[in-house]
Symmetry: C2
Subunit: 276 residues, 2 copies
């Protein structure tokens, strides 16, 4: 059987992958969940028809949403991850030996269960003893925890349905309050080729709260356009001023101290998008 999965990245653009095996499909309380085995990019987590991660390229997104913020903070001990139920971001955070506590707040426990079962190399970090997994609303968790975190990572799905609130000015303001005085937040903020309005709006809302706000980019083949943006915001420490001796050696496939800095160098049009 010649079975193909197609993600409609937009109404007029599709990415299709040949599927070797359907490992699981289910309707959870919150969304449609599937794990597919593809020939091109390995195993793939799909939520509501949107590719979340694949075993072949997940390292890019997970390393880049974590290490830039973790190394920008002088001594991160307490980290919250909102979303990210696959566990990939957790796996990267626990590579930092100074981290004492990681709170993963994922609304859908089926995502965590599917990842543990079918994507064990991604979910591995979830078993680390420093990790607490909470199945609850990330927006409420952040609102109810003030001055607690060194780093808050917003590892959200696309801004559709329940995830819309994870791109709101109110949520960013609550994150600011949930952080300690030298805290840092980072959020995935979609593609500069497809989501200019969203990036402009998120960036502007975050910049209104934090003294230091910057956008950086990474190559993610299975996300629309392949160019993915992250917005990092910091109360004290500038990601572009990290001293070289802070970069302890951790095993990575994409991130390096040099990539840390280079990722902030924006193509002309992307830089212009953030002005004004």
């Amino acid at each position: 059987m010649d079975l193909w999965f197609t993600e409609k990245q937009t109404n007029t653009l599709g990415l299709s992958l040949k599927v070797l095996r359907t490992l699981v499909t289910e309707h959870t309380q919150f969304q449609d969940l599937a794990v597919l085995e593809t020939e091109q990019y390995g195993r793939m987590l799909v939520l509501d028809g949107i590719i979340q991660t694949t075993t072949a390229d997940e390292f890019v997104y997970h390393e880049m949403i974590t290490h830039v913020a973790l190394f920008t903070h002088k001594d991160p001990k307490t980290v919250a991850i909102i979303g990210g139920g696959d566990g990939g971001a957790v796996r990267e955070v626990v590579k930092h030996p100074g981290v004492e506590r990681v709170v993963l707040v994922e609304i859908d426990e089926r995502v965590v269960a599917a990842s543990r079962q079918y994507l064990p190399e991604i979910a591995a970090g979830l078993s680390d003893e420093r990790v607490e997994v909470r199945f609850e609303d990330g927006i409420r968790h952040i609102r109810e925890n003030k001055g607690v975190y060194d780093v808050v990572i917003v590892d959200s799905t696309d801004p559709i349905g329940a995830a819309v609130g994870l791109f709101s000015a109110e949520f960013y303001a609550d994150i600011y309050e949930s952080l300690k005085d030298d805290g840092i937040m980072v959020a995935q903020t979609e593609s500069p080729f497809h989501n200019q309005d969203l990036i402009r709006k998120s960036f502007s809302a975050i910049r209104d709260l934090f003294p230091i706000t910057r956008l950086y980019l990474a190559y993610v083949p299975t996300y629309p356009s392949g160019m993915w943006s992250f917005t990092i915001a910091s109360k004290e420490n500038d990601p572009l001023s990290v001293p070289m001796d802070r970069f302890i050696n951790i095993p990575t496939k994409y991130y390096t101290p040099q990539i840390h800095f280079a990722a902030f160098t924006l193509p002309q049009l992307v830089g212009q998008m953030l002005q004004g």
Copy 2:
């Protein structure tokens, strides 16, 4: 009618775009040629089923295959472009006021004709009086012109059929000979996610010839994986040692002097691919 074009980027990966209009399809002497109007990325040139360029993202590829080499050379006057019949690379090269002569060597005159007719904003530079368009075999042209060029740009299709020779060690050796003593070559060398063997082989063959050989990257949404590589090789000048005062101001949408340098910062796995 709901008409979609699909490029099989590999046997197990497809990119599909909704087509508003088919502007032209023809069998040329060398290949199947089409220009399609897409809703997502504007007008699109397709050769043998492979997307060559679209009006929405062509600026990335065309700026990055030209300006890095042109600014690395101290005073480029004579430039050859092998392939690149759409004219996009020519358009960028003629932005450099010191350039006196650009020789575009395109084997298929129908590509140039279709681009002039249907992609005028890409083909614009072809009318510049410094440009000479030659419809002939680029391999032979390079072999027969020795010590002539300041910069040679290999703007080839994928390494299939006739274009295989444009990725060969023999061709690179002929390019070396076609260059002046301070000459520079640059070639598009496909995606690090999909074409590791090709990149390794090309890079190694070029490094055996030139004292300075480097790989750099750019985001091209309509190319497989979105991460695209270019290999630049130079007899004298290092692209990483360009003095800031050499970067005269030219209009661009992607390239900046900062991007020039940052594009050489390779993700861990891509850097490792080139070792040994």
